[in-house]
């Protein structure tokens, strides 16, 4: 199964980045083989719609689950429509969070855990 982990670096030992739309990298991991591909998040600094863009990337990459810290309402809606499961509250490294996921120890989110724009450094647009 392919899971997409939001990370602050481009490998399995990078820490999980808790922001879904504004993470630095997406690390796409095959849970059976632990083979991975890292993609830099082009939307990390975008003005708006980063969550939607990230959800689109996950769908394009064929991700079946997302592991992250927090997720906003737009991204959640997009991932749900794409049939992607979302696991939140992840901490530690990408490798560790995938292991926890495999053991069924991550919590599945069914609604947004962050408000819109919360991943942005500034206030309103």
């Amino acid at each position: 199964m392919k899971v997409v982990v939001t990370a602050s670096g481009a490998d399995l030992d990078a820490p999980v980045d808790p922001r879904f739309g504004r993470c630095s990298f997406f690390v796409i991991v095959d849970t059976d083989t632990m083979a991975f591909e890292a993609v830099e998040n082009q939307a990390a600094m975008a003005a708006g719609g980063a969550g939607v863009q990230a959800a689109q990337l996950v769908a394009n990459k064929g991700g079946q689950a997302v592991i992250t810290g927090n997720i906003g309402p737009n991204a959640m809606a997009g991932l749900q429509a794409a049939g992607v499961k979302v696991y939140v509250g992840a901490e530690g490294t990408v490798r560790k969070s995938v292991e926890l996921f495999k053991e069924g120890r991550l919590q599945e989110a069914t609604s947004a855990t962050a408000s819109p724009h919360s991943g942005m450094g500034r206030g309103r647009w």
Binding site: G48, G49, A50, V52, Q53, N74, A77, G78, A81, W125
Partner: protein
Amino acid sequence: MILAVASGKGGTGKTLVATNMASVAGEVQLVDCDAEEPNVHLFIKPIETEGVIPVTLSLPQIDEGKCTHCGRCAEACEYHALMVLGQQVLLFEELCHGCGACSFVCPEGAISERPKEIGRVEVGKRGSLRLIQGVLHVGEPMPSPVIRKAKALIDPSLMAILDAPPGTSCPVVETVKGADFCCLVTEPTPFGLYDLTLAVGMVKKLGIKMGVVLNRADVGDQGVREYLQGEEIPLLAEIPFDPRISEVCSRGGLVVEELPHYRGLFSSILLKVKELSSGG
């Protein structure tokens, strides 16, 4: 000429300055650009309503029968309001700016446009003053199209005074850009100075001439005055701290009508602005 009245934050007396200046300006248009919380009408109370103009955005409408889910529309959308999945296209309405890029790039002609009303512009008259007021519908996130529509109704042969939203965000820039002069209202306190420097930065970037009105000028410190001298920004007027002014404002009254000895002060701001915007 177009004169924008702005401030780095709310509550500095921006609307006080805009409404009272407009009331002594003769034939004038007063445009309330604070579409999220328009309040100029509380002071001006127009008697005749001239009209109400709806403001709409064109949202994309996707014909799933024609759509091949190629993904081009989502790639073209600068605001990331679209998501294309294998079997469907999702539109995130509150992110959509109605720019039309998606329907332009769709190779299948699967995208048509459907109007969505996001606000309205109300026009009214009170004597020689014409009030143009932008009103964004509750829950809508984008005031800028309403502000653009309100500004588009300005008669260029007459003076227009724009009451900007508070702060220095996008809607403020939308209001101030294209103005001939920007009058910034602040207070002589460290907070007032901080917000003023942000507002000055914005106006400078837009390349617009500016001046400052100090409200509650006799309380606080010298920081703002020193800053203005250093930056060579003209101080247009000082409005004293006067409990009667606050009292009149809290009732929705006009200072120039109820405390007529202040008329000269507001007229003098207008005169200075006219002088400064024509010179050099």
